[in-house]
Symmetry: C2
Subunit: 190 residues, 2 copies
């Protein structure tokens, strides 16, 4: 088989990561297997793992890609709003919408990853924790900008509501849940 150009290799790598994100959102980052990925992409296992070096590095790449998607779907849609309450309200709306639209086939990747990795150790767990910390920090910063009493409390509650919504959607297909989440978030931001 001919070696591919750097550009072609990059495209292949991206397609591997994209598939890894979808599989992992349904079955977890640990449930991801190189052999299955290879089968679905019509590649050899060596061809898949060669782009990353180890399963752990592939897991990290999938996590980074998922965080990029979250940022694009939630933060980017709200970033044009004025800092503080207007932006927080836009974030809340985009967040619920992101969950409602099933951007990942298995629901929120970050929530799933945090549940899967909160009892383990190593680079994947650290990256999950860091990503969540970063996001809660963003929320708290906006709440502070809005002059709210307890910005960390606001960040805590918004995040909790999003997790609750994700569970109701994924586990029960509860179509009333997005409305409940909007109501709860609006009360927190009142």
């Amino acid at each position: 088989m001919p070696r591919r150009s750097a550009a072609e290799a990059e495209k292949t790598r991206e397609s591997i990561v994209a598939r890894a994100v979808d599989v992992a959102s349904l079955e977890g980052l640990e449930g991801l297997t190189i052999g299955r990925l290879a089968g679905e992409l019509d590649m050899s296992k060596a061809g898949v793992i060669g782009h990353f070096g180890s399963k752990e590095a592939l897991q990290v790449a999938a996590l980074e890609q998922a965080a990029d998607v979250f940022r694009r779907e939630v933060w980017d849609r709200a970033a044009a709003q004025k800092p503080g309450l207007p932006r927080l309200r836009a974030i809340a709306g985009a967040w619920v919408s992101y969950l409602e639209r099933d951007v990942f086939p298995g629901g929120c990747f970050l929530t799933a990853a945090s549940c899967e990795w909160d009892g383990r150790s190593g680079p994947v767990r650290e990256r999950v924790a860091g990503t969540m910390d970063l996001w809660l920090g963003v929320l708290a910063r906006e709440a502070r900008e809005a002059g709210m009493d307890d910005p960390e409390q606001v960040a805590f509650e918004l995040n909790a509501i999003a997790m609750g919504l994700n569970q109701r959607l994924q586990l029960h297909g509860d179509r009333e849940a997005p409305g409940r989440a909007r109501t709860a978030m609006a009360r927190v931001l009142r």
Copy 2:
């Protein structure tokens, strides 16, 4: 090796389930392996799986045991209170305490299981969903008894807050989170 009495066999079965619950709370029900369990219990794999017939049946047994623990730690501690708001407030307190005390080594078993199985199908998933539905139904019933406007909204929000607390405890060891959860639950129950 001599066959054991029925009572001894039952004790062995219980010790297997207890260990399975601990392992699964840290690494998930799918991460559970018969070989590892056998090694930790100084048994053969056949001896372990013989009590259940399949890994799936072992997963279901672990889930049932975990639900029993949750009921004992949260519901039973509040059941003596008057139905309605007093009981809901007792449930909220016991729930936060249950998470704070790390009753399972890896945090709330039910939350972990719901994240792990919400993208899969089969008996384990159905049982996780049923258990969650049952619990949210209990919460809604108490909120209705308390005469609250929207009992399902109360159930949704309490559950969300518990999930958010579990994440902060497990992923970040955040010692302020229990207080935040109490504050948020109190506001929902105001």
